[in-house]
Symmetry: C2
Subunit: 682 residues, 2 copies
């Protein structure tokens, strides 16, 4: 780990009470740091990956550049891994670096390697394996055709059909109308060429594939529900096969290096073997055979896919959070505004309580989230057989995906505003983070819909409590709920907001929200349907329930991590981060603590708010070093405001002066007269 450059940030670095390198080793563990170092060094060899784009290239150029970057990334992965899969924390580290560098690059990689190849391996059998392996090596590019124009998160609403034709012994894929067109397909037209032609790989089977989700219809007309098919989409000349129409979806808010498309199938035949038949198969004579008799097994295969997608989102959203905070906090330490009185020097804006309150709770969250990501990655990609923990993990990842993505959304916006006018410049880099994270709110399960997976799982547990049975939670995320009856009788009585007080308050809050949400649900059920009842408990009950459950779990994981260090300086500052994030979350749940009777005649509200402001004040001298310990390297941060040397104005000056069109008359001034003619009739 190199030292950081001397400059405007040195003053605040020197204030820190801990060694940022030790903190970095603690938060990211030495093994993973080694992996990260190699990855960064390899990336640095390819300026294409991190060239600063002062002006957004055209859509066409963005896609060509992304494709070229993707090729480089596959080369880097091959060199580093030599065919081996990433270990769980290496995967986390990889997602962390690649998505902060370029969201389009990350998405392209993930769609092919994880969603396509991973999906084929998970849902297919031996006959599909070769294709998945080709994709894993980056030799072919596969897409995933799940969402349709009018249906996304609601899988039951999908309307594409795959009808088994007895005579042809083929499935016939069909799109009934435009509303059922497959949508947001992430194509890989370019990598196909780039990888196959240029890397001297054999073109061979390099047609482009897609996993297509469709209703499996048997010859008699019976609909066996949504199944996945492995389907060739384009030939080697990038032309879609007859019976397939593809069209570009056009520009998006962000991630425009990704060429999202629509696919329409018109009675398109695919071989019987295209069916990814882990779950069930269709015989030559059109009989359906369930390969997994246990619907629970099928469910768990799906849950694994969902959990993998969602922990990836957790990693990327945390990465965006860290990058945005790096920019906002370094700039806040450098930027000075207003003097206490005439003649006195101006004050760095990090000194203002308001500014601390705007940024530091999110800094605390960044630490909590980074540590939480390690926890979920270890569980999803770890040794424990996934089936045994699938449901609880699904509840955790669904809720955490929503809760954390939303908090990061707000954090990035706060960072953007905290950087003032310069935060509005493209060169600040924050706008791009916002656009990248924005995608996460509605993809991989729309947040408002999937957070219900968490509350639904929790609600199913409450009857056990009522019947004095132990609650089954192999990951022990709600082990304390077994003690709910006692917990609900406790009151807030602490005079100081320490780690245990915060966790106890969250335990009470989770039990209280579980109980009241359950009761409200039951009450509505008496007069109405389950569908209606589930909808009517969301706004003020179920959503809060899922939120406090996730926040309690994040803090619990953080507590264990803090207990793991012997270094008292680190322990001290990590505890402050815990307390700040905990109190800041509780402040937003205060009404429930009041109305549920946990807080009666105490000074709890002002205690919590005072703790927030005090800890913010204490962290003022730690913040820059705390960022140093988790920041991406400068070539990834890639922001005039967030460079580790703190030379904000010099970087701004350089960015302005590097712009070839910056000076004097605009390059296009002579074109005006020509344009006159075009528009003069208007």
């Amino acid at each position: 780990m190199g030292d950081l450059p001397y400059g405007p940030l040195t003053k605040y670095r020197d204030f820190a009470t801990f060694d940022w390198k030790k903190m970095k080793n603690f938060v990211t563990t030495t093994d993973v740091l080694k992996f990260e170092k190699v990855l960064h060094d390899e990336m640095l060899k390819h300026p294409l990956l991190y060239q600063q784009q002062l002006v957004t290239p055209s859509l066409k150029e963005q896609r060509i550049i992304t494709a070229q970057k993707l090729k480089v990334l596959y080369q880097i992965v091959e060199k580093m891994m030599n065919g081996k899969a990433f270990k769980s924390l290496e995967m986390l580290s990889f997602v962390n670096a690649v998505f902060a560098l370029d969201v389009s690059l990350g998405l392209k990689y993930v769609v092919n390697s994880s969603m396509f190849a991973g999906g084929v391996l998970r849902m297919g059998t031996e006959r599909h394996k070769e294709i998945a392996e080709q994709a894993l090596r980056g030799e072919i590019y596969g897409c995933v055709c799940f969402s349709e124009v009018a249906h996304g998160t609601n899988a039951q609403g999908l309307r594409t059909t795959a009808t088994y034709d007895l005579k042809r012994k083929q499935f016939i894929l069909h799109t009934p109308d435009f509303e059922a067109a497959k949508c947001y397909i992430c194509f890989g037209m370019l990598p196909l060429y780039v990888l196959c032609v240029n890397s001297k790989r054999i073109l061979g089977k390099s047609a482009e594939y897609g996993i297509v989700y469709a209703n499996l219809i048997l010859p008699g007309g019976e609909n066996r529900g949504i199944h996945a098919f492995l389907v060739k989409i384009h030939d080697t000349n990038l032309k879609p096969y007859l019976g397939i129409t593809t069209a570009d979806l056009g520009e998006k808010i962000g991630a425009n290096g990704v060429d999202n498309a629509i696919i329409i199938f018109n009675q398109y035949p695919v071989p019987r073997e295209s069916l990814l038949n882990q779950v069930g198969d269709v015989t030559e004579d059109g009989k359906y055979i369930a390969n997994l008799n246990n619907s629970k097994e099928i469910y768990q295969i799906n849950l694994k896919g969902f959990s993998e997608s969602r922990v990836r989102v957790l990693a990327m959203t945390t990465s965006y959070l860290v990058k945005s905070l790096t920019i906002a906090i370094r700039y806040a330490a450098v930027r000075k505004q207003f003097s206490p009185s005439d003649g006195q020097d101006e004050v760095s804006i990090i000194e203002y309580q308001t500014h601390q309150y705007r940024l530091f709770p999110y800094l605390a969250m960044a630490y909590v989230s980074k540590i939480f990501c390690q926890y979920v990655f270890k569980n999803v990609y770890g040794m424990t057989p996934l089936a045994s923990i699938a449901e609880e993990l699904h509840a955790i990842t669904s809720g955490a995906k929503s809760v954390i993505v939303w908090l990061v959304r707000d954090a990035i916006q706060e960072c953007r505003e905290a950087c003032g006018g310069h935060g509005y410049l493209k060169a600040s880099g924050i706008g791009e983070m916002r656009n990248s994270n924005d995608l996460n709110c509605t993809s991989e399960g729309e947040n408002h819909v999937i957070i219900q997976q968490t509350s639904n799982w929790l609600l199913k547990k409450w009857p056990s409590v009522l019947q004095n049975q132990r609650v089954k939670n192999p990951l022990r995320s709600i082990e304390f709920v077994n003690d709910a009856k006692n917990i609900l009788n406790t009151k807030f009585s602490s005079s100081v907001m320490d780690i245990d007080c915060i966790l106890n308050t969250f335990k009470w809050l989770t039990c209280y929200m579980l109980k009241t949400t359950y009761e409200k649900h039951q009450a509505i059920l008496k007069q109405s349907s389950e569908f209606h009842a589930k909808n009517e408990i969301q706004v003020f009950h179920a959503k809060t329930l899922a939120t406090v459950y996730v926040q309690h779990l994040m803090l619990s994981v953080m507590k264990e991590q803090i207990a793991d260090t012997e270094n008292t300086e680190l322990k001290k500052v990590l505890s402050k981060l815990f307390i700040l994030f905990g109190c800041w979350c509780l402040d937003k749940h205060m009404m429930k603590l009041y109305s549920g009777g946990y807080i009666i005649n105490t000074n709890a509200p002002s205690l919590i708010q005072e703790t927030i402001l005090n800890v913010c004040g204490e962290l003022k001298n730690e913040a820059v070093a705390l960022i140093d310990a988790i920041a991406h390297p400068d070539f990834i941060v890639n922001s005039i405001l967030g460079h580790s040397d703190g030379e904000v104005y010099k970087h701004l000056e350089a960015a302005v002066f590097q712009n070839p069109h910056a000076f004097g008359r605009p390059s296009w001034w002579t074109e005006i007269l020509e344009h006159q003619n075009v528009f003069s009739k208007l």
Copy 2:
């Protein structure tokens, strides 16, 4: 007013209990509707103004197009107004339409006509009038050079100097270093040419001007503080004069049709008469003469400028709100997801309580804000001599700008997410609204800084209350504070959340926040400086104080407006909007109501939350018609999801199929091999 097209939205339109045309007439008054109709009709004659851009043009093209649009807009204004100024509500209506159509166009127009010309008229004297009038006619284009690279909202920190040179009898403008370079200058290079050459106007004096704010330094070295100068920046060939360096600031998050720039002065001489000398002047022999002896008068001249800028922001942010809601609510009525049970039809997502709760409070706010905008425009541009109300108006507009821009920021994000994956498409139009409004958070006074103007003004009033003196508030925005002692003794005792109950609660809340903020401020002052004390009261006190003050005022204005209608159907639904917005705001202030003792042992929290959900349910059948009554016409909404015909999927299909590059192989597929060569060495 034409009828709306038959289609997927007809069902919900038919549900409405009121006539949307009558509502439209009521909310926008017949006079203004006539003006709006002419404006829309004129705009419709120029397809350039509203051509759909499926793909963002290059920065260069965006600027050329914006300049061309600006020319058209000046022609329209000339035709409509024939040299007359807009009346107050016409101005509101104009800003409403132009900014929703194109933020860059709006900014370009406003910078020249209002900020430049208005600034010259406000701060200059007879000798500057001609230039201002040329700008008002669009014959020349002027910019405003206020912010510097390292200072914006803090005007005292500006470092550009204008030193009077006795020998030359000129001011010498100088930029000491890059940090003091003038920044975010909105140039008008193109309009200059377009307007002067093409509209056959005489080129004459058409050099580009800027109002430059600089420290006026007298020959002896005395600094008389920030003054404004009217300065020629470019000659008629668009070349900056010797001694001026200009550079483009580069791409921004949004508003890229505006060519923001940096200006550096290097000992640049300007005539003595350049000084905008309303406030003070410098004689030929270098003496400073204060033209206004009363510092209050000077202050009020500045306040007028600020208030004008800020009410314009209120108009534009409300316009963005309405446009985003139009898109999200129409799409919510059309889009169906999930069936209550197998075999049943899917349900429009507007039927879901969660979705109602996400959108309808903002719909209610849109009505409250539209009416509030009329109130502030009438005051700023109205008959009352501004001086008498300047301070109160400044407090109102500063606070309202922050509070409303932030709420609209959240509203637009909610709309974006409520539109799911399609909301992420450029063609949905919401991303652009977000980028446009984002600017408002940090420009025209950074929100966190200017909201302090409001709390500072309020805090100055509290001593009067303590001393039993009447509080001076010519606009009566805090007239009730005269009764604070009684109000603070009241308790919440209502069993129903009606208009008066909500206003009374807000009155208590404002008095309570005023009292507690004042007391906290005084307590800190005992041990610390004023600078410190002001900073330490912001987070949990002063910001909330300003917020509740603004919200109470918005609701009070809404109440008066509701009282103005005789139509019982309108009255009924407008009251629901009042109640929803009021309760939704109060729900977020509940903790203060609790901890301040206004709510004791009552069911107020659940009453407020139940009211919110019930009114949301009632508004479900009104929402589409409520949007119809305030929506921009389709050519301004310009969204595949928000068209008044509700044919979401047809518009999406058309947008996809109109894209010339949509089909089959990307147009650039043959270029890949060429690109290989460029990158193959990487």
